[in-house]
């Protein structure tokens, strides 16, 4: 069953088209990472799902409920955490959670137990009577996560949950998100801290200038990008003639002689890296260094995006 079902979503602010025809389907229990540069349209997409944007085109459904037609019902299904932490500075953590428990119309008799549970999950039980304003940034983020869990929503919409956190707080939030993943929550999480998502997400979508440029599991995306993997090679002897010979290899897309090395662009679907090593050796060239370019999230991101904004 699809928890999120977005078809041809368009969001426009005045003349600026923030989102241009995005399609996105997230099944139950999946952790979907939304990656993109600032201004790419991540927050706009999340805001549409959170029923916070009126002006959009396309079909957006949460648990089969139309966001445009049934926003009240959708609100009961989602937990939204914005990229900033809104503070009621006059409340304690207990009052803050009771405030939102009342706003989510949780039965009075159940509130205390639920709040105890979410505080335990977020490891904030000892801070229950501290003023919210006095908590550290990391604790505030954990409190915000506790808040979104109060009404046990099916879908968590987390917009940049780790932005502005120090490394320790970031790890704490990441561990908390892993726990939520294990609890079977469906999570849509946006971030531009790429390795943070790679450890957490079952699927990612890379968005740029309002368009999805890649979508799939991490392996899928790496495979797609690996089609033209760059391999750096240092050769002994006459490099110029070696370059000519390398260009004759069928799976080699291009060869570029650099100051101290040769960069070979390989069509990896036609030849594996190991076979390329052998092929180079067979041309008579003597290999001093052989280094395939590492494929990680940052490379994928840089390869797929051009730094454009909507």
């Amino acid at each position: 069953m699809l928890v999120v079902d977005i078809n041809n979503l368009w969001v426009q602010y005045g003349k600026i088209k923030a989102v241009r025809g995005i399609d996105l389907q997230i099944p139950k229990g999946e952790v979907f990472g939304f990656i993109g540069p600032n201004g790419a349209g991540k927050s706009s997409t999340i805001k549409v799902l959170a029923t916070l944007l009126r002006n959009f085109k396309g079909s957006v459904k949460v648990n089969g409920l139309d966001v445009r037609r049934q926003p009240q019902k959708v609100r009961e299904q989602i937990g939204y955490m914005p990229d900033f932490f809104g503070v009621y500075e006059d409340l304690t953590a207990r009052e803050y959670l009771h405030f939102f428990a009342a706003a989510y119309r949780i039965d009075r008799t159940k509130r205390k137990a639920i709040i105890g549970d979410v505080l335990e999950l977020t490891d904030l039980t000892h801070k229950i009577d501290d003023p919210v304003d006095g908590l550290s940034r990391g604790m505030k983020q954990r409190l915000a996560l506790a808040r979104v869990l109060l009404h046990d929503p099916d879908l968590l919409l987390l917009d940049e949950p780790a932005s502005g956190l120090d490394p320790r707080a970031r790890i704490e939030v990441r561990e908390l998100l892993k726990a939520l993943k294990e609890m079977g929550k469906t999570i849509l999480i946006s971030s531009h801290i790429l390795h943070e998502l790679s450890q957490l997400c079952t699927r990612i979508g890379i968005i740029e200038a309002g368009q999805m440029v890649a979508e799939g599991s991490l392996e899928d995306i790496f495979r797609k990008l690996s089609l033209k993997r760059v391999v750096h090679v240092q050769l002994a002897g006459d490099v110029d003639s070696a370059v000519d010979r390398l260009q004759q290899i069928s799976a080699v897309d291009s060869v570029e002689a650099q100051t101290d090395r040769v960069a070979i662009k390989l069509r990896e679907d036609e030849m594996s890296i190991e076979d390329l090593h052998d092929a180079i050796h067979e041309t008579g060239a003597r290999i001093r260094m052989f280094q395939p370019e590492a494929m990680d999230m940052e490379t994928a991101f840089m390869k797929l995006t051009e730094g454009k904004t909507a």
Binding site: R68, P71, A102, Y104, R105
Partner: protein, 528 residues
């Protein structure tokens, strides 16, 4: 001016002028000011301008036209210039950019000077707009050349005086709102010594027409230099002061005072304890009435005591001395209570939604299952409590009038009803207007300023215009001006028809604005 700016390296002035040129409101305000000025002049001097009189009969009428134009310009300078200038330095503080400016090669003096020039330019353009009318009045005769030059001088000096005074407040205060109020307060207080100095300077300057204008101008310029020197002295010290919640500090001060007083008199007996319970089913209403400074019972009692104590003291003193009509005593008190009540209600109502925006809590609140209507009505719970408290001083004044004037014996029930209706309709109306402005404008400070401008403009502008134009009877002005209605009622000129018409108009406006906000609540907070 841009050429001047480039030649003399005035980057801040250049930036100010470019910003002003890029804002639509610069042109809108100029057009509005010019339209108002010319329409008022046409209405006021219809007889002269339309030439219904013989040309020779119009000669010498220029003086009247000229004097009233100068009066209008003066009013414009003293009313609008502080509002235009109060954000000059505080906006830099609010954007955290004043510190950055101070570490550049710009000296504090040059920052102030360039800011001053940047704010003087728009006001000067406003003054230039009246030049054709001035020329016309000069051509009609009755205005001497010395008077013309002298008036231009005093208008310019007034501009500089008001802008430097406001700049000083802006350099001292941490927020635009506090600078706004401080500018008008200091301006009002400085009127008295300035008036004395004017009188002395005119007495010693003799009777030469030009000198009569020159002397006050010199005084104004001297005072301006003094204000600039103070601004220069405080701008660095006060560059990084954090914003203060003056209202909260005031209440804390009152709290301390009353706690000490209670300790000294009763040994610390507390009759009403603030409820420390958790929210029930209306979380926003709970926060508004249990956690906000103008919502909790304890603070509201403080507000009541702060208003009621001086009111009762003045009433007791006045009633023991007065031999005239009681309205001579109560009318000014009613006006003061109205001003205080309107300020409190407007400030509170405006900050309901804009406060949520400021604390970045509106989005989170909007994703809860609470409907927009529920959010608005719960937000208003604190304002409702404030209303109830503010009813007490109004009721006190009404009771004094009824008791002293024996209104029940003189069929004064229309007056009593008008009084009651004005309070129960105007205050909620002011609250909903302010609330609506708070919804529309993103910045809380701008929202408070705009709502005060609308409410006080609506209350005072028709009254002032009518005073100036003198074309309608007060009873007719009362139909579209709340303050005129209150004054007509105090003058015992209220009739049943006027009361009913007024109730219909303002209760209608109240219902309309309230319904509009509640029906469009979800859209107005930006959600589905």
């Amino acid at each position: 001016m841009m050429f001047f700016s480039r030649q003399f390296h005035l980057p801040l002035l250049g930036k100010e002028l470019i910003e002003q040129a890029g804002r639509r409101r610069t042109y809108l305000s100029r057009t509005f000011y010019a339209t108002l000025l010319f329409i008022l002049s046409i209405i006021r001097f219809q007889d002269v301008l339309t030439g219904t009189e013989l040309a020779t009969a119009q000669l010498g009428h220029g003086r009247r036209l000229f004097d009233e134009l100068v009066w209008l310009q003066m009013l414009g300078i003293y009313l609008f210039m502080p509002a235009m200038t109060c954000g000059a330095i505080t906006q830099e503080k609010e954007r955290d950019s004043l510190g950055l400016l101070l570490i550049t090669r710009l000296t504090p003096g040059s920052i102030l000077f360039e800011k001053l020039l940047g704010r003087l330019v728009p006001m000067m353009t406003f003054l230039l707009l009246s030049l054709p009318l001035m020329a016309f009045s000069y051509s009609l005769g009755g205005v001497g050349f010395g008077q013309l030059i002298g008036t231009a001088l005093i208008l310019m000096a007034s501009c500089i005086y008001v802008s430097t005074l406001t700049l000083m407040c802006s350099a001292y205060c941490s927020t635009t709102v506090s600078a706004f109020f401080a500018s008008y307060m200091v301006g009002l207080v400085s009127m008295f010594p300035l008036g004395v100095v004017f009188a002395i300077s005119q007495a010693v300057s003799g009777v030469t027409e030009f000198l009569i204008y020159l002397a006050p101008s010199v005084v104004l310029v001297f005072a301006s230099m003094m204000y600039l020197a103070i601004a220069r002295a405080v701008i660095v010290q006060r560059a990084l002061v954090p914003p203060r919640n003056v209202l909260l500090e005031f209440f804390r001060g009152l709290d301390k005072f009353f706690a000490n007083l209670n300790e000294a008199t009763t040994g610390g007996i507390v009759l009403i304890q603030d409820a420390d319970k958790l929210p029930g089913d209306e979380p926003i209403a709970w926060r508004e009435t249990q956690k906000k400074s103008l919502g909790t019972a304890r603070y509201l009692i403080r507000v009541l005591v702060s208003i009621q104590t001086p009111l009762l003291f003045v009433l007791a003193l006045g009633l023991s001395m007065t031999t005239y009509q009681v309205t001579n005593l109560t009318t000014p008190l009613i006006v003061i209570v109205w001003i205080v009540a309107t300020l409190l209600v407007c400030a509170k109502s405006t900050s309901l939604i804009s406060g949520e925006r400021l604390h970045q809590t509106l989005d989170v609140l909007s994703t809860t299952p609470l409907t927009g209507r529920e959010i608005f009505l719960q937000e208003f719970q604190g304002v409702r409590r404030l209303f109830l408290v503010l009813l007490v001083p109004f009721a006190t004044l009404l009771f004094v009038e009824i008791w002293w004037d024996r209104l029940w014996q003189f069929h004064g029930w229309i007056r009593v009803l008008s009084f009651v209706f004005s309070v129960v309709i105007y205050l909620p109306l002011a609250a909903w207007i302010s609330f609506w402005v708070g919804l529309k404008l993103k910045s809380q400070m701008r929202a408070i300023l705009v709502s005060l401008l609308i409410v006080f403009g609506w209350s005072l502008l028709p009254l002032s215009l009518n005073e100036f134009l003198g074309i309608w009877p007060m009873r007719e002005v009362a139909l579209f001006c709340p303050s005129a209605f209150i004054l007509v009622n105090q003058d015992r000129a209220m009739s049943g028809g006027l009361m009913l018409s007024n109730i219909a108009i303002y209760a209608g406006a109240l219902v309309l604005i309230r319904s509009y906000c509640l029906i469009n609540a979800d859209r107005m907070i930006g959600r589905q």
